[in-house]
Subunit: 431 residues, 3 copies
């Protein structure tokens, strides 16, 4: 079990206030701070680039925004919370009647004391988000207001961070998270932070497989990444989309596109091994970037392990999804679940038996006891027996995880025995 | 719900008395009367034509037949019921002792008051069918009888009616019924009548798929039709054999060759939607023309929806299978079940997503809400979400019915959404 | 039911005392005695031959062996039981201290009164097996002993007996047993004896399929046989490894590699038909020669029917696995189970329907009743109906056993009906 609680705490505090969006300096600053932890590559894709059916939009930045009432008092102030602004709002500076203004005010009646988070990335618009309580208190039918948004649109870039951690095999697994949300802690600063420390751990020793870590704005970022790494992404079969991993609520996991994919079995196994109750969310093409990665041309089986899954917790997409809600210890817990799952994934090697005709003579390879005849399997399995049982399934197609399921043995044991057989040249790693 | 009760009643009354067989003028007259309802093509196949392992037999016609007792009294009279005659009886006119005659008398002890229906199409023979009560009353050990059958065999034709209702796609579904039974109402005048009005309904508007309607004598007719439309029939995957649809008893359906074929799911769904209890009959290669259509070279998945299925009702193949047993309202009910099933089948289109890489940008195509961030799916699914969920399965192989099962949504909803996506050019119909 | 009890008894008594091993004259003598029952071919493979990862070892023979105590008294004597010797012991003749000797003494504390059976085929070694009681009684810390083993190693041969019983089809089933165990009755003299009489029965009449009978030493023998009959063995799909068939305990069967292979269904069916309780042992790549036959390159589905399966009975690999434990009537019982399974296997013919388009006209081939219309299937299935039902599945891929499962009819009935259809040329045997 790793313990990154202190570093997680520090990173959460540093990153939380930054005003992120699908483009802009907030994202660059976020990635730059992550580079202090892991050697991310920063990739910039220019405004106007066509990525499949989409076009990378203009870069958006915002310095200030507020609404003043007729007495000149600031009743909504971007400086107090960056989610007060409809993300991607156009600049505006004018006096306006309530009747017109109210079309640009977003609140959430169900939780009257919280500010909802809203966006308008692809349709020019402006607006303010506020609590329903404030809406009732500060706004009146016939009053006139002054609205001010100091935002800017320009030809710029969409920014993505990635890192390929190379293992013994070139076969890659995808680990992707999204960086476009402003000051919202569980969705998805928690995912960003967890992914950083997950990558840090993966870098500590050479793995069997390679891991492609991606920090991108949701949807348009994942699409841009796919479009610019198309062949690579088509070669990837499996991965994770990491989001909402730090709430006080229940663990859960969202299944990948094919519910029978081993990644789903592995996640459930980890929860069981840790005695953790969890909620199973079947695959749905709504949610996060699994929408892109699971699309027809890619069909990557990406699963998501959550603690307080998006859509499911009360403060989802509100100003109360903050650092009172998300705690370093929760993120650290979920990080350990991800690490354990990757431990198993990393052992899911496909071997080919070099002696497909009958069985290899294990005693010749110093792998079999010298005196025979006294073995009775119900007394517990000896290693040479496990070798025989393993070898018959090393057919160049079945991976160790699948074999561990057939033999009803922990993959760690299977993996250790496979390593011995590999050393002796009895099996060879295919991928 | 369509209401053809009056027209069904009229057609039943007109067609019931006609003496049909596997060939002959009774069949021609039946098809001619059906032409008053739908534009059937009449196809004639000459006697002696080889159709696979079979040969089209001589055409048979009959004017009169009776048995007189020793006192010259008609005790059996074809004029009273055309099922008194063993179908395809050779002509005869002679005095005969009871001992010889009794080999030519067919009755049904289990229901002593009814006349059974019997045939001898492929072996020259003659005979009379009568109730067991009459057998006991009118026949005596040592009496002599006069038997008279005024039938004729000649080089002629086997007659089939067909109609292809062309839809947007050339992909065809088969709808077949058999016309060879004389005055038997449920088996199978009910099927003939239902099929006529089903075709009439299908003609009312352009459908997505094409429907091939076939009225043919059972077995030899279906075989002849397959032999003369072999390539077309090999291209058909699915269809219905319509029979025994008008009894007072229970609804049921006979599954097609492959029990997992969607047609079987669709039929069950319709029954459930209509709150109708039904009996499931697994596929068996006995029964009706599914024997031919499901044969190795064709393997068409034909299912049958029944109301009082053949073999299962007491009056099956007897003179009591008449218009007291079969009612227009029963046929109309079953007709509506077939129509509902075809409604679903007709929506089972296979689409290909034109944007297989990641997802199409729905907002660009005016299919996505402008302000994002407030959507929580547990509050009910909005259309743009359903679009995303649908698009990920439009892989050029999976039809809308299958997708509706995956998404657990009614196919009508899926179909409506698919139409919108098709209009925008986001998906294209494959077949 | 066959009754070979007397002949089994005689053969058991004759073969039991012979000192067998993986090579040597004991094996030759065993096979020669089997030749008095069935026309076995004897095949000799020379020492040093490479067979896949293995090399055929030197031939081993032994004339005498004993241990004398310090008073010159024989306390262990090979002449009393051939399992006293560690099989493949090198020659030795010297005085030895207990401290050195004890490394060469094998006993079984759990059953203190019995002698265990041990081998050291591939590592030069010597040793004695004895009961734990004798170990305690005859051996003392500081005593000196005289050990004598008059064994010999020489360039020689490994000896295998085989017999191909040719049936109507060249498609072969494998029936293999192992001959390398010395005086151990259930493991595996019982298997050797059963296989001999099974082959004798199979020779009595022409079968549909061919049966390849193999008597070989375990592991190295099966490997040698595979290496020298590679193409033939790769063509075989299914078979039996016959072992431990004569104990007083429960029947059981070990499943073949693919648990869904028909051979497993057939064995269970036979047990049910005979009202025999049985234990199901799932496939494991430990046990006997299924390790070789199921290996990646061969993947023969070999199952094993046992009565007191190896590993499972107390006296496994001890001197108490003798003719008090194994009885002729037990072997005869198991023989009948094998024969019944082979009866079903032998009927699992694949036919092709010569009339794949629609159905053959059964009445033309004298296979259908002349007068039609009175058939109602719930009254019991008539043969012509069964013919129709069978024909639709004779697609050149599905064998009669599989069809008997689909139709839920005994294979004997299906087989009889198929024979009639074959005689008429309606179906043709593929294999």
């Amino acid at each position: 079990m790793v313990d990154y609680k202190k570093e997680i705490d520090k990173l959460l505090t540093t990153l939380f206030p930054i005003a992120r969006s699908i483009t802009g300096d907030g994202n660059r600053e976020t990635l730059r701070l992550l580079q202090e932890i892991i050697p991310l590559n920063i990739k910039e894709y220019p405004t106007g680039t066509k990525v499949y059916d989409w076009i990378i939009p203009e870069e958006w930045s915002i310095k200030d925004a507020w609404i003043k009432n007729s007495k000149g008092r600031k009743i909504i102030d971007f400086q107090k919370s960056n989610i007060h602004i409809l993300n991607y709002s156009i600049p505006i500076n004018k006096r306006i009647k309530f009747d017109e203004l109210k079309e640009h005010l977003y609140y959430k009646k169900e939780i009257p004391y919280t500010i909802p988070n809203r966006t308008s990335y692809y349709k020019k618009n402006w607006g303010f988000c506020l609590s329903y309580n404030d809406y009732k208190e500060y706004f009146n039918e016939n009053e006139e207001y002054e609205v001010f948004i100091d935002s800017e649109f320009k030809e710029g870039f969409l920014t993505i961070g990635d890192l390929v951690i190379e293992g013994a095999s070139k076969k890659e697994y995808l680990i992707s998270t999204y960086i476009c949300h402003p000051s919202l802690a569980n969705d998805n600063l928690s995912g960003v932070v967890l992914t950083a420390f997950l990558a840090k751990e993966l870098l500590k020793k050479k793995r069997n497989f390679s891991y492609r870590i991606v920090f991108a704005p949701e949807s348009i970022g994942a699409i841009t990444y796919c479009a610019h790494h198309e062949a690579i992404m088509k070669d990837i079969d499996t991965g994770f989309v990491i989001t909402t991993v730090g709430g006080p609520g229940k663990f859960g996991y969202k299944q990948s596109f094919d519910e029978n994919n081993p990644i789903n079995h592995i996640i459930e196994k980890i929860f069981h091994e840790n005695n953790i109750e969890f909620i199973t969310y079947p695959f749905k093409d709504i949610g996060s970037d699994e929408r892109q990665y699971s699309s027809i041309a890619f069909r990557i089986n990406v699963a998501t392990i959550c603690k307080d899954k998006y859509f499911e917790y009360e403060y989802y997409h509100t100003s109360h999804d903050n650092l009172d809600f998300v705690k370093p210890e929760y993120i650290n817990e979920t990080l350990n679940i991800y690490l354990q799952a990757i431990e198993k994934i990393d052992k899911s090697i496909v071997y080919e038996n070099m002696f497909p005709h009958c069985e290899a003579m294990l005693s010749k390879h110093d792998l079999y006891p010298v005196v025979s005849g006294d073995y009775i399997p119900k007394k517990g399995m000896i290693e040479s027996e496990l070798m025989c049982r393993l070898l018959i399934y090393c057919d160049g197609r079945t991976d160790l995880y699948k074999i561990s399921q057939i033999l009803e043995m922990p993959i760690d044991v299977i993996y250790r025995v496979a390593n011995k057989l590999e050393e002796k040249g009895i099996i060879e790693r295919l991928f």
